[in-house]
């Protein structure tokens, strides 16, 4: 992870997803920025920090599964059997 401030402070452009959400990084949603202009203002958020949280969340959720059970059964496979 090479750090350069200018790169970190330039997020990819926002693409609207719904009336209240946008996306900048693939599969990552953000609030429509105009909804955070009165009561809570957004923080300076370098790209590395966004991605750190996204990856940490995925790791945390995987950890939670392992914490409660050794394996996870796939519903898609069960459905395939039912339909098959």
């Amino acid at each position: 992870m090479k750090y350069r401030r200018s790169e970190e402070m330039s997020p990819p452009p926002a693409v609207p997803v719904t009336d209240v959400a946008i996306t900048r990084f693939e599969h990552v949603y953000e609030v429509a920025p105009e909804l955070m202009t009165e009561h809570v203002l957004q923080q300076e958020f370098p790209n590395w920090d966004t991605l750190r949280l996204v990856h940490s969340r995925a790791d945390h959720l995987a950890w939670m599964h392992r914490h409660f059970a050794h394996t996870v059964v796939s519903g898609e496979e069960l459905l395939h059997e039912l339909d098959g």
Partner: protein, 394 residues
């Protein structure tokens, strides 16, 4: 209430309220201080709630300055907080306990509320331009660790060595330098390196921190440095979070983490560990890499590349609640608390039946080594181990 308290409460009130209002406290059982003391006054939640209380006129910073000592800056709390982990990226608004603790400490110092050991430490750092990690620490000795390695001074890429490594854990920077030389990676040393200033900022001595940062950046500019290699996770935080805050758009230096660079060199085949190291190890995720930067893959990659090692891994999420106790100035002001935290970390390694705990953070290695002695567990640095396997032992 002093005006500075009011300004501080105003600046932090919304962030503090976000924590106060949720009352999740998911931080509590991952906080290293909380885990050993069980004292909720020293929890990340309390650090936020105190701000709300200051805003309501119930507290002044002098009432709580000593409470804010009880933090290693590990970042577990702010990462584990649902306001970060589940929605921080979505709202571009996350919990920032580490920054809050630094700000509260700075507010205390600005009002002449000092912690004795921190005041002494920072005064000595100011005198020596380096942290007084050993008797010898000082400007004239800052490159002693590199004796005999014939490293250049200056150049486009330099290796920055933190105080603990430069004066105490000297085998760590020696290992790094020898490995980079082996790979033919071109780098030099800084012209007149001072302490990065990060520890002063962590303890609340912000003016000093900025002065040191200014010196280092000016020195880099004067000698045409474009890229700084960093072996210490604490420096990495300082250079990628504090310096950008101090210098804004002017800050155009590229910062490279040595552990990532080495992993790349191994991946590319420019370095191939080949000498077996017969040890049974587990890895300690340094907080400032794992929790605060999400860097956990590369150190494991390097460990798995070393032949002979028996590596018992503990996953990085479990390690969110691990800490050496060595950060945030805690060992300076409350060494007994650091010792309890490092003993607890060593206990977890001991349960795995390993003989060695590998870290990748020089600042963790002193407290961990001390705790390790009691349990017959060696504490070594990842870079020392890798260099041994590459035949360039420090």
């Amino acid at each position: 209430m002093p005006d500075a308290d009011k300004r501080f409460a105003e600046e932090w009130r919304d962030a503090a309220y976000n924590c106060f209002s949720s009352g999740h406290k998911f931080c509590r059982e991952v906080c290293p201080v909380m885990q050993v003391t069980r004292n909720e006054s020293w929890s990340p939640t309390a650090f936020h709630a105190n701000v709300v209380a200051m805003e309501k006129g119930e507290l002044e910073i002098s009432d709580v300055a000593a409470d804010y000592v009880n933090c290693t800056g590990c970042g577990a709390c702010e990462l584990r907080c649902p306001n970060s982990l589940f929605t921080g990226d979505f709202y571009r608004f996350r919990t920032r306990t580490v920054d809050l603790v630094k700000a509260a400490r700075a507010l205390a110092v600005s009002q002449d509320v000092h912690q004795d050991a921190w005041r002494r430490w920072n005064a000595e750092t100011d005198e020596r331009s380096h942290e007084p990690v050993t008797e010898a620490a000082g400007q004239e000795r800052v490159r002693d660790w590199a004796e005999g390695l014939e490293l250049a001074i200056g150049g486009e890429t330099i290796l920055f060595v933190d105080c603990e490594a430069a004066f105490h854990r000297t085998s760590v920077p020696r290992a790094v330098a020898r490995m980079l030389n082996l790979a033919g990676y071109k780098f030099g040393l800084m012209n007149e390196q001072w302490c990065c200033g990060g520890p002063a900022a962590e303890m609340g001595y912000e003016e000093q921190a900025r002065r040191f940062a200014r010196h280092n950046l000016d020195d880099w500019r004067a000698s045409g440095v474009r890229r700084v290699l960093v072996l210490d996770p604490h420096d990495y935080i300082t250079f990628t979070e504090d310096y950008p805050k101090y210098f804004g758009d002017d800050y155009d230096i590229e910062i490279v983490l040595v552990v990532e660079l080495l992993a790349e060199l191994v991946r590319e085949g420019r370095l191939t560990p080949h000498i077996p190291v017969e040890r049974s190890v587990t890895y300690h995720d340094p907080c400032r890499l794992n929790k605060r930067k999400g860097v956990w893959r590369e150190p494991r990659e390097l460990l798995r590349a070393i032949p002979g090692l028996t590596f018992t891994d503990v996953d990085r999420v479990t390690q969110w609640s691990y800490c050496s106790g060595g950060g945030g100035g805690l060992p300076i002001e409350k060494p007994e608390l650091t010792a309890r935290i490092s003993a607890s970390r060593i206990d977890k390694a001991a349960e795995l039946g390993v003989d060695t705990l590998v870290s990748a953070c020089p600042w963790s290695e002193r407290p961990l080594s001390e705790a390790g002695r009691a349990r017959s567990i060696d504490v070594v640095d990842l870079f020392e181990l890798l260099a041994t396997s590459l035949g360039v032992a420090p």
